[in-house]
Symmetry: C2
Subunit: 382 residues, 2 copies
């Protein structure tokens, strides 16, 4: 018997799945865009090819027991054809289809009664203008699938600006939806796992701190009211049940006053779940592998009073945080996860996780190591 | 900059080091006896060759920043010649020399005043007989280096038996030492780490449960008096300082009544330290890599009230525990480490670790998963 998992994509999520696979006796094969991708650097079994190339994806499927993903950019029709040909593909092609299409997500989740920001599809510029009249500027415009020039979200603040976004999007053939702008009190993500036999489990809600659409920090337990946390966890569980999830999925929520609004689904291990490697009884990477292989799910219990994760982006000064790893590890009890990429300003390079008896303790330890890696002055504690 | 570690040997210890290396951005190359060795199966960089072949060991040294080991069977003179040629080798060649020679260990540690069983070198059969007269049978005979037919320890109970062991050993050219037989009250191992800049840290003492010379269970905290634990930890630290240890080393002790006697040194990650993967702030595998690379050591703090590890041996019925991994994982909150070997009766196949609020809880969880993997009836709890 073998336990062979194929992953489309070979970035940091695949790399951390590769690490989780070793102790479980699971053999990972990745379909990597390049042999220097983070996961390709640490694995003996690598197929180099385009994830859009049906032949390469079929080659991967032919070598493994189940196909899964480290990103959502895979053609769901191709995945459906693999399932028809007798391959196992988890999360299900329908789940991947949903994840790729924000309009479809909103339609389905609205229909099921989940609360989310008021939105509508943009068929013409009048749709945006109508929104403008009703909700005022700024408005949020989102690409229904993907985006262009590395962006998928715009927040025009003037009529001229949103007209420009609209025309640009049309030019790129990008379908848009418009959403009311929310003054956020914060964001929460809930990781939920589903097994092939219908067991669903949520992890404790994660508070995510985002700047410019990039997640910078994770705090667990989330610093929100018990009611907000409970509703987010319940909605994530219900969404997983609704879509019959197999694998791990992150559900991202906006917190606005007392409201918890569904923002987005990401059916795979997710940035917001990195704290689970040290902070939960079963890491999201082990959990995802267990789920897609049809194994029983593991405990999602929180192991420490407080866990904090800081994401490390490539510094603007062009320096390489890699050189500062030993120093960062010497700064306290902190856990580093390096993604194996060349440093470029703004690129996700790795993350550090610290835990402690209190949030302050964990936050300080993560902050110290992060500051060293990022090449910042370490702030002196009061 | 790169962080490249070469490991002589590619068994489970190298495999678990490979796993620990991924998040730290460390690149591991192994010198494997076979491409199907546990670590060779999960790594992109493998040299296949004999660890006794100077050319292969030099090839490994030429590819990496530091050479280390997953077993002690490497010629210390070859290692010393690598150091002379400018390569880094940790633990030091002298430490490896000490580890390989039980007589030398006893001489040096006795001279330093560490308590150990009464012993002497066997020059002739009269040495054994003299021991017999003084301490009575059984006696313990040990091969000074290695052993033969897979054994290195014998406990002859009759004069005829020990004469036979003596003659066999001579025939194999195996030097022996003789030791008083101890009625053990238990065994303790202490893992200690040393950095290149003279920082030494012990992990909490581990109670090891051994049968037929094989370690079956680890219990942390060790169930011995505070005085015994304190003395074992202190001795391990002092021994590490004495030999100027770089890397991780296990010091194994006999507990006899109120006495704590040094039994053996193993300067590498060790079976008795497997619980540290989930149970300590820094696993012994990460710690060893950090130490040999000249990085700061990590915290050795215990993370849970109780941690229990059970080693899994290949079942006598010839069945493969691998097939039972999913079922074992479903039995509770337990962590599996599979070594990637074909199942053979008595072979070390993997281990399971469980932690809990109490020893009973951890012990029960580890026991349930172990029983399933081993193919035993799970004992019903009272």
């Amino acid at each position: 018997m073998n336990y062979r998992v194929g992953i489309v994509g070979a970035g940091q999520l695949a790399r951390m799945m590769a690490q989780a696979a070793i102790p479980l006796g699971i053999e990972i094969t990745v379909l990597a865009a390049s042999s220097t991708d983070g996961a390709a650097r640490v694995l003996p079994w690598v197929i180099v090819g385009d994830p859009d190339d049906p032949e390469r994806v079929r080659e991967l499927a032919g070598r493994v027991d189940v196909v899964t993903f480290d990103h959502e950019l895979v053609d769901p029709d191709l995945l459906a054809s693999l399932v028809e040909a007798g391959h196992k593909v988890y999360p299900r092609p329908d789940t991947m289809r949903l994840a790729q299409n924000k309009r479809r997500q909103r339609e389905q989740l609205s229909a099921e009664g989940f609360s989310m920001p008021i939105w509508r599809q943009v068929e013409s510029i009048e749709d945006i203008q109508e929104y403008d009249l009703r909700y005022g500027l700024p408005l949020v415009l989102k690409a229904v699938r993907g985006g262009y020039d590395g962006r998928g979200v715009w927040m025009p603040e003037t009529p001229e600006e949103f007209e420009r976004v609209y025309r640009d999007a049309r030019k790129h053939g990008t379908e848009l939806l418009v959403e009311e702008f929310q003054e956020l009190d914060g964001e929460v993500a809930v990781l939920v796992a589903g097994s092939t036999d219908g067991d669903f489990r949520t992890y404790p809600a994660t508070e995510t701190v985002q700047r410019d659409g990039i997640c910078h920090e994770l705090h667990v337990p989330a610093r929100f009211s018990a009611s907000i946390i409970r509703r987010a966890e319940r909605m994530a569980l219900q969404i997983a049940e609704t879509i019959d999830l197999v694998g791990v999925m992150a559900v991202e929520f906006f917190v606005v006053g007392d409201k918890v609004l569904v923002n987005e689904l990401a059916p795979r291990p997710h940035n917001s779940g990195h704290w689970t490697i040290e902070g939960a009884a079963t890491s999201q990477f082990e959990q995802h592998l267990r789920a897609v292989l049809g194994w029983p799910l593991g405990s999602t219990a929180l192991l420490h009073p407080a866990v904090v994760t800081r994401n490390l982006l490539g510094p603007d000064d062009g320096s390489d945080p890699f050189d500062r790893i030993p120093e960062a590890l010497g700064s306290g009890n902190v856990h580093l996860h390096w993604y194996g990429k060349e440093s470029r300003p703004g690129r996700k390079m790795g993350h550090v996780t610290a835990y402690g008896a209190t949030h302050d303790e964990a936050d300080a330890a993560a902050g110290r190591a992060w500051s060293i890696l990022a090449g910042r002055e370490v702030e002196v504690e009061a």
